[in-house]
């Protein structure tokens, strides 16, 4: 997995709640069998509308997505995370993420940051007023920082120590688990015979 320590970049204000993963990457893109090449599918339907914020030239090349609440609801498709990363996003900020999307993001090194809606609103206002404004997401300090005309904004965010450590180091979860293989074998040896098996009967 790609490690994440700190990132500074311009941000896109996506003022919309309940953005489901069908909007992030429509189902017909899911026929691909790779983890890359999804950038053109990102928000495909909305990007056909010239006024969609991702089409605004002042936000071209932005790497931070400032999303509304309940981002990533619906389908478990990890392709949504790959599409955001393929397009160039390094981090997504929202007041609430759907569980599966958040899990998928952290597995891929796309840092999802939960901030209070009021703070998201302040960041929206900042980048709407000045699209060149940069936002720093610092996983080491667990805080989001931005310079505003009225003074600096610093917002702490939570991420449990274990998830943070895996992101900072860019660790492979499967290798970590396999380091505890004897625990798995021990559990398996006590599994009752009546538990289900897919072996043909």
């Amino acid at each position: 997995m790609e490690a994440f320590t700190t990132h500074t970049g311009r941000a896109v204000p996506l003022r919309r709640s309940n953005v489901d993963t069908d909007q992030i990457i429509p189902a017909h893109w899911l026929k691909k069998v790779t983890r890359n090449g999804f950038e053109d599918g990102l928000f495909e339907a909305w990007r056909k509308d010239e006024s969609f914020v991702l089409n605004a030239p002042q936000y071209a090349g932005a790497t931070v997505l400032l999303a509304g609440s309940d981002f990533g609801t619906g389908s478990s498709r990890e392709h949504a995370v790959w599409a955001l990363q393929n397009y160039g996003f390094k981090t997504v900020i929202s007041s609430r993420f759907a569980d599966i999307f958040r899990g998928n993001s952290l597995k891929n090194g796309l840092l999802t940051v939960v901030l209070p809606q009021q703070t998201v609103e302040e960041l929206w206002q900042l980048v709407e007023a000045d699209p060149t404004a940069e936002i720093t997401v610092d996983l080491v300090a667990r805080e989001v920082r931005a310079d505003r005309p009225q003074g600096p904004l610093t917002a702490p965010f939570e991420l449990d120590d274990n998830a943070r450590w895996r992101l900072l180091e860019g660790l492979d979860d499967i290798s970590l688990t396999l380091a505890n293989e004897p625990d798995i074998a021990a559990f398996e040896s006590t599994r009752p015979s009546w538990k289900p098996s897919t072996a043909q009967v």
Binding site: R77, I174, P192
Partner: protein, 477 residues
């Protein structure tokens, strides 16, 4: 203090618990399909890893599969490649696969239960958010992403963050014509699409206990639409009766040992939930969605809501955008919304009881002029059962199309799609923008409402049908 059902199942699967680490849970059953697995198998190959427990893994083809001409090569080359990739991966890694054309093929969440693989007190995962379906058996079942699919293939375990518990208690009697689908749509509308975030929901109460296994699956299936990690129902006699005799259910002494354990899987009287919601079943009515997320629903007897009536500005904006996309106006009675297409099927409502319910409504009647009705059984087994009961002929006599099994128009990865601007009444689970085809507009409904809507051409319940069915058509079936 006592424990909830979810906590008991969790505790019984902890492989490793260490300070500062997420619990490592053992996975009893891993279901695979063609869409979310290819990159996971690639990962195994790249790292020289194998599938640890092929005997706890099973695959089928459902999302891409056509529902017509299944004996011919799949027309869409990209879909064909994806299915062929699954076949190659399953052959290489020795995973049991039920491909298109196999008698056990079907929507993965219909196949698991009908084989008797989904059992109480198990952990079930699949790279598909509707894995919550299996919670109907008292299993802890949840959807995972492709990285986690790879993790389970390689280790048969998952490190998982702790969850919170929510009780949704539904007491009383569901009125005639009100189904499990209406119940769950009402629940989602109440708690919202993000209200379940971080929670495992346990559905309980007298109205839940009276539901059949298939209705319980409909309820648990849509837990994810409320944002919940999983939905569960405590196993009882209904659960045991459903399982007994199925291909992979325990037999003989194993059956007795299993039932003895399953009977312990109830939330203790002194257990506490982190959050509780109560619903009076007697107050529920047929429920439909008007918007572009499953929480935007209302009773069929209501009108399209006015966005101005929402206090929360983001809810108001969401409602405005939804009405614009759906081509609806505030105050319009939902019963007056005309549809082009009716879809009966999916992991939510594609089982035999759903088909029976829809057939009972359209039997002896005709699908309205200009309306296309697709009936897609959830699995080949469901299709065969329906044919044996003559349901396929009831549907075709009414003018509906009887198709082969698969996910079909629930998400339109195969050719079954809405055209731009087309409107459907659908027994599936998601009314997101473009979900059933680019520009398509979806109203989520029960099988009964879907069937009545097909006959009248606008959103309707069976109670709206004034004409008596044509008895001669029924006799032919």
């Amino acid at each position: 203090m006592g424990r909830t059902l979810a906590e008991k199942v969790w505790d019984d699967h902890v492989v490793r618990r260490a300070e500062g680490e997420p619990d490592l849970l053992f996975i009893d059953l891993h279901l695979l399909h063609e869409v979310t697995s290819p990159q996971a198998f690639d990962g195994l190959r790249m790292n020289g890893r194998r599938v640890r427990r092929t005997d706890l893994t099973i695959a089928t083809e459902d999302h891409n599969t056509p529902t017509l001409d299944i004996d011919k090569p799949i027309a869409d080359p990209v879909s064909r490649t994806q299915l062929e990739t699954l076949r190659k991966n399953c052959a290489e890694f020795e995973v049991r696969l039920h491909p298109l054309g196999d008698i056990e093929q079907g929507v993965v969440h219909v196949v698991g239960p009908q084989l008797g693989l989904t059992q109480p007190g198990t952990t079930v995962v699949c790279g598909d958010s509707h894995t919550s379906t299996h919670g109907a058996f008292g299993a802890l079942a949840f959807g995972i992403g492709t990285s986690q699919v790879e993790h389970v293939l390689a280790t048969q375990t998952l490190p998982l963050a702790p969850f919170r518990t929510m009780a949704v208690t539904v007491d009383g009697e569901l009125p005639d014509g009100v189904t499990a689908k209406d119940l769950i749509l009402a629940v989602i509308s109440r708690i919202g699409t993000g209200g379940g975030q971080g929670y495992v929901i346990e559905y309980r109460g007298s109205a839940i206990e009276k539901l059949s296994m298939e209705s319980r699956m409909t309820v648990c299936n849509m837990s994810i639409e409320a944002g919940a990690r999983a939905g569960m129902i405590a196993p009882d006699r209904t659960t045991f009766d459903y399982l007994e005799g199925r291909a992979h259910a325990p037999k003989g002494a194993d059956w007795d040992a299993a039932v003895a354990y399953w009977k312990t899987l109830r939330t203790d009287d002194d257990a506490a939930f982190d959050h509780e919601v109560r619903i009076d079943a007697g107050e529920l009515t047929p429920f439909v969605t008007w918007g572009t997320n499953p929480g935007q629903g209302a009773p069929l007897s209501a009108s399209v809501p006015d966005p101005a009536s929402y206090d929360d500005p983001s809810d108001r904006l969401a409602a405005e955008k939804a009405l614009e996309y759906m081509g609806l106006t505030a105050g319009q009675p939902l019963r007056e919304v005309a549809v082009d297409t009716v879809f009966v099927g999916s992991c939510t409502n594609g089982r035999i009881e759903d088909l029976r319910a829809a057939a009972a409504v359209v039997g002896g009647r005709k699908v309205a002029d200009g309306v296309r009705m697709l009936v897609v059984p959830g699995s080949v087994r469901v299709a065969l059962q329906a044919v044996e009961e003559g349901l396929d002929r009831v549907f075709t006599a009414a003018g509906a199309e009887w198709r082969h099994a698969g996910c079909s128009m629930c998400l339109g990865m195969n050719p079954d799609q809405l055209a731009p601007g087309e409107r459907s009444a659908s027994t599936s689970n998601r009314n997101f923008e473009g979900r059933q085809g680019k520009g398509g507009r979806t109203h989520l409904v029960s099988p009964q409402v879907a069937a009545a809507t097909a006959v009248l051409g606008h959103l309707a319940s069976p109670a709206d049908l004034s004409d008596a069915p044509d008895a001669s058509v029924l006799e032919e079936a």
